[in-house]
Symmetry: C2
Subunit: 230 residues, 2 copies
DNA sequence: CCAAAAGTGTTCGAACTACACCCATGT
DNA sequence: ACATGGGTGTAGTTCGAACACTTTTGG
């Protein structure tokens, strides 16, 4: 690839599309908005925007996410570039998709409303514009893979969470059911969670103990050559 | 993301960089070329080119690979988009990296010479321009992951290969050593290889049996819910 | 005959799976 | 008192890891 003298080359609009994933305790959701105007009025779309000259692509992704959610410093990772010629109905646009794992509670409902945005179950996706459905599927595949070897699932949970919540989350990510006892056994054996005395009574009369993820412990184990695996 | 009316948005050069991986029986190699002119003369670089208006990004990657290798219909997969503002010393360029798994024997040495290209061991990378080293590392990480769950390693081998070759290849991909007996046992159990009577005598006096990958068998097993894993 | 690489089975332990009952509490 | 979800232990099986010697043959 030559340096400088690119004048004769084509230039392209480069967009960002964000797959914002959240967990509401029951379902794994993605944040979508319903288009208010033609073309494609009524169809659903990912949150997006264009890359600008004064920012890297990663920075553009962070900005787009912040713009539409008001949230900052969120776990984001690139899914990939989508470059079919006619993927956008307007002019040609090459889009780079990112997924974000967020704690839903940090979202301002007013901001969502302002963007006509809603949380939608990933298991029941509506019709989406362009290749956005593919982007979501690709993002979920990456999440499935990464969640198995890195403790990123916790990024979808509030600071304090219960075992049933955590298990439910992993069941949704892996699209399977897990054995309660085996799941707990594994987590306990990892020794990266701290059990609190306090209980969450919102979903049962008995209440479930809260746990918190202990990142220091996890980092220490990492240094000792420990590998997360779930 | 609005449709049409993008005039006020910035446009970018979009490049392709190809991580072309090959296996010579002994080492895992990447195809690099040495820059003949300033700037960055003498440094090494991946094979690259720019995306054009009349092709998708995937197509551009295939074209770039064909241009510099003369080879077509090769296994390619996207690594990701690299979008730091100053990653290119010339103007701003967003690059999309792809890796290709090729059978080295199909390469025309004259064509390599024409491009000042050489096969270089991935374990001993020279100094590379821009973020090309990162691209190679990312590509190898993807290969490592995918090779464990999909039979893509065979794409780096000639039609007929021997067990020691195959094992060597996987050892290079995984950057580890494997037990001969366990490796063979696993492969045999998969029942996706066919053993030929003929032997390769190039690396030992006794000679090693050739095997071929049987894709039909593999596809049949896939349909039966079989999962490759190595 | 010897060097050099190919080929071959068994044992052990770790990790995963399957599985059923009691507990705590709000209504 | 009962319905609802939370919490706990064991046994069986499977899979991966470790391990050493014989075979072939060209030089």
């Amino acid at each position: 690839m030559p340096v400088a003298f690119y004048q004769e080359e084509e230039r392209f609009y480069v967009a960002i599309d964000c797959i914002i994933l959240g967990f509401n305790g029951k379902d794994l959701d993605v944040l979508l908005y319903k288009r208010k105007f033609e073309p494609m009025k009524g169809l659903w779309s990912l949150m997006g925007g264009f890359v600008r000259a004064n920012e890297s692509v990663d920075e553009a992704a962070a900005r787009v996410l912040a713009d539409c959610s008001g949230i900052d410093h969120v776990y984001m990772e690139q899914v990939g570039a989508y470059g079919e010629i006619h993927r956008d109905l307007g002019e040609r646009v090459i889009s780079i998709a990112y997924y974000a794992l967020v704690n839903m509670n940090n979202f301002n409902p007013d901001m969502l409303e302002a963007h006509n945005a809603q949380w939608v179950k990933v298991s029941e996706l509506p019709e989406l514009i362009f290749d956005h459905e593919q982007m979501i599927k690709d993002a979920l595949a990456i999440l499935r893979r990464k969640a198995a070897v890195q403790p990123i699932g916790f990024k979808l949970l509030p600071e304090r969470f219960t075992m049933p919540q955590l298990q439910r989350l992993y069941e949704l990510i892996y699209r399977t059911t897990l054995d309660k006892r085996n799941f707990r056994k594994k987590l306990c054996a990892m020794d990266i969670l701290e059990k609190l005395d306090e209980k969450d009574k919102s979903s049962s009369k008995r209440g479930a103990h809260y746990y918190v993820f202990n990142r220091e412990k996890y980092n220490k184990l990492l240094q000792q050559g420990y590998y997360f695996s779930l």
